[in-house]
Symmetry: C2
Subunit: 103 residues, 2 copies
DNA sequence: CACGCATATGCCTCTACATGTATATTAATC
DNA sequence: GATTAATATACATGTAGAGGCATATGCGTG
């Protein structure tokens, strides 16, 4: 869970994930689309791979990267525990806090 | 969104959030329950506060910290965009990837 | 108003990580 | 088999962040 969150917390990795949502991509595609250096892309993909967020499949001399659903499911499962919490407060719109808020 | 993810990616902050899920707590309570130093707790709470994950209300010389629902809703909304993605693959169980997986 | 309790902040250190540059690896092509 | 394309890795550098320690701030109580 931590590795998932940490991986997604980095802006460029987040962009990569968002791009991969539209379908698998080669490293070179990611590089061009997001205007990143090749080494940056490879390194970020490594972090994403080690976090289980993507998998790569060999495609000739290139590699195709693709999202794995599992970490997203896990995140969703974790959030599930908070859903009751925030849904209970939907109507309040947090106005009861705005009065005495510190910041 | 990044500040939310970054805040949650830190293990001790994650524990604080998990603790607060059961209800608002004072700093001292968090300190004892999670066996952290007071300054650690205060600093982590600051990060969580700046990320909009918690709010503090003054309670005499103490401060009561409480979760805000909004960041969780935002995370959920973001995940929503991936739900169709992973639900489409629920049946496959990713077996089609295990064959050629690189790692 | 002096003291004590609860919490926040400043400073220091250490480690982790993001980037850049150079180079290694692997596969396709001639 | 030498060359080129696609990707990965090693090394160096800068910077942000987490923890520890000391101290400041704020509030209540005597």
């Amino acid at each position: 869970m931590f590795s998932t969150l940490a991986a997604l917390a980095e802006p460029n990795r987040f962009r990569i994930v968002e791009l991969l949502r539209s379908g698998p991509r080669h490293v070179g595609e990611i590089e061009k689309r997001l205007k990143l250096r090749q080494t940056q892309v490879s390194k970020h993909l490594r972090v994403l791979r080690e976090a289980g967020i993507v998998v790569s499949t060999v495609d000739a001399q290139r590699r195709l990267y693709e999202l794995r659903p599992q970490p997203f499911r896990e995140l969703d499962d974790w959030l599930e525990g908070y859903r009751s919490y925030w849904e209970a407060r939907l109507d309040e719109l947090e106005t009861h806090l705005d009065n005495s808020r510190t910041e």
